[in-house]
């Protein structure tokens, strides 16, 4: 999830709803420019809320939904988002609305659970960021985000690694495992196993860098994201690259061709590439620049 730091507008202590508008909060999914976002009106959003509607913001249009304030208070949201299943449901809903918006008009997605206490506050807060939103729209209009991840493939036992098999080249010709020289031979085996492991690791790192360099050449912008740790199951892959690329809409095929080529090359170094997209450019809303979000 991209972190536009100030927009995660969970109501704060100073924003405590007054008695009159306590019942609903305004959840903002995205901001569109031009296009025909009218088609979004009435689509379902978060299931506790009303139908999705549009909130005009001068030259821009926000895609919003009224949600019950008590289910979306700061505390309630924090609690819900720390529950895996609930987080998934919220994220899927958010993504569905954002994707629908992006199909209708150039769209800046806002972070999950961007909430304001009513339309006026939403309008004021987003109005302050209008310039930033326009800049983001200029950057992402007509472009899509592609996510590329590279993993090492766990070494198979039958791989040509010098496994625990007898005598590497440096081992003396002692046939008995307990004979003279066997201690040194053992250490040599350990050493060559370790070296093979290091070499594999370095090759995988280089392969991941090659992938990144090649795809940057096709992209308007690129971001390296934090590497994911090992998965929950006995997933023995190690992530070597987690990157997002902002690519012009008409270069999809070029990208696919490049990925096909890179995939083959990387496979030789024990690296598998996974690509997903096109996505709404969540990772490029902030441009990685000065981050002048004005709050």
């Amino acid at each position: 999830m991209t972190a536009a730091p100030c927009t995660t507008g969970v109501p704060t202590a100073t924003d405590v709803p007054t008695a009159t508008d306590a019942s609903t909060a305004t959840c903002v999914f995205a901001v569109c420019r031009g296009g025909d976002p009218a088609a979004l009106e009435g689509m379902p959003g978060h299931e506790e809320g009303a139908r999705v509607r549009l909130l005009p913001l001068g030259s821009l249009t926000a895609v919003v939904q009224d949600v019950p304030a008590d289910r979306f208070s700061e505390e309630a949201v924090r609690e819900r988002l720390s529950d895996g299943a609930e987080l998934e449901r919220c994220a899927r809903t958010h993504h569905a609305v954002v994707s629908a918006a992006a199909r209708c008009a150039p769209t800046v997605p806002l972070p999950l659970a961007t909430l304001y206490l009513g339309d006026e506050r939403a309008r004021a807060a987003l109005g302050k960021r209008e310039q930033h939103l326009h800049a983001a729209l200029d950057r992402i209009e007509g472009r899509a985000e592609w996510a590329v991840k590279a993993y090492t493939v766990p070494a198979r036992p039958d791989a040509p690694a010098p496994a625990g098999k007898p005598e590497g080249p440096a081992a003396p010709a002692s046939s008995s495992p307990d004979g003279p020289g066997s201690g040194r031979a053992y250490l040599e085996r350990v050493r060559s196993r370790k070296r093979a492991c290091d070499l594999r690791q370095e090759a995988a790192l280089r392969a991941a860098e090659r992938v990144d360099t090649a795809l940057r050449g096709l992209a308007v912008a690129a971001r390296r994201l934090r590497l994911h740790g090992p998965g929950p199951d006995r997933d023995r892959r190690t992530q070597m690259l987690n990157a997002a690329y902002l690519v012009d809409g008409d270069r999809d095929r070029e990208l696919a061709a490049a990925v096909g080529r890179l995939r083959q090359e990387a496979e030789a170094d024990g690296v598998r590439i996974e690509v997903s997209g096109p996505w709404v450019p969540y990772s490029f809303v902030d441009g990685g620049g000065t981050g002048d979000l004005g709050c």
């Binding site: 766990p154 070494a155 003279p180 020289g181 066997s182 201690g183 040194r184 031979a185 053992y186 250490l187 350990v190 050493r191 196993r193 370790k194 492991c197 594999r200 740790g229 090992p230 929950p232 199951d233 006995r234 023995r236 190690t238």
Partner: protein
């Protein structure tokens, strides 16, 4: 966070404790192996010392394998997932 945390269930607590102890021993054994190789590379061990250290580590390795087998543990069981830090022992 960690999917493979040690689960102190009454039925499995004995086996888990063995796994934990063997994990620590295995970590030390691997560290000693690395240190031995480093010392050899630095050239400050005599042939005799290399041979003795190598043999000791080899026997320790064999003994570890026996203990694992005895307790029905695989080499992968003797590892801890440290979340963002990766795993305690190298996975290859």
């Amino acid at each position: 966070m960690t999917a493979e945390r040690v689960d102190l269930d009454a039925d499995t607590v004995g086996r888990d404790l063995v796994a934990l102890v063997l994990t620590v021993v295995e970590l030390l054994r691997q560290l000693m192996e690395r240190q031995a190789i480093r010392r050899i590379d630095q050239g400050d061990l005599t042939d005799d010392q290399v041979e003795r250290i190598g043999r000791t580590l080899m026997l320790l390795d064999e003994r570890m394998a026996e203990l694992r087998d005895h307790h029905g543990l695989s080499p992968e069981d003797l590892n801890l997932d440290l979340g963002p830090l990766g795993t305690l022992l190298p996975r290859d």
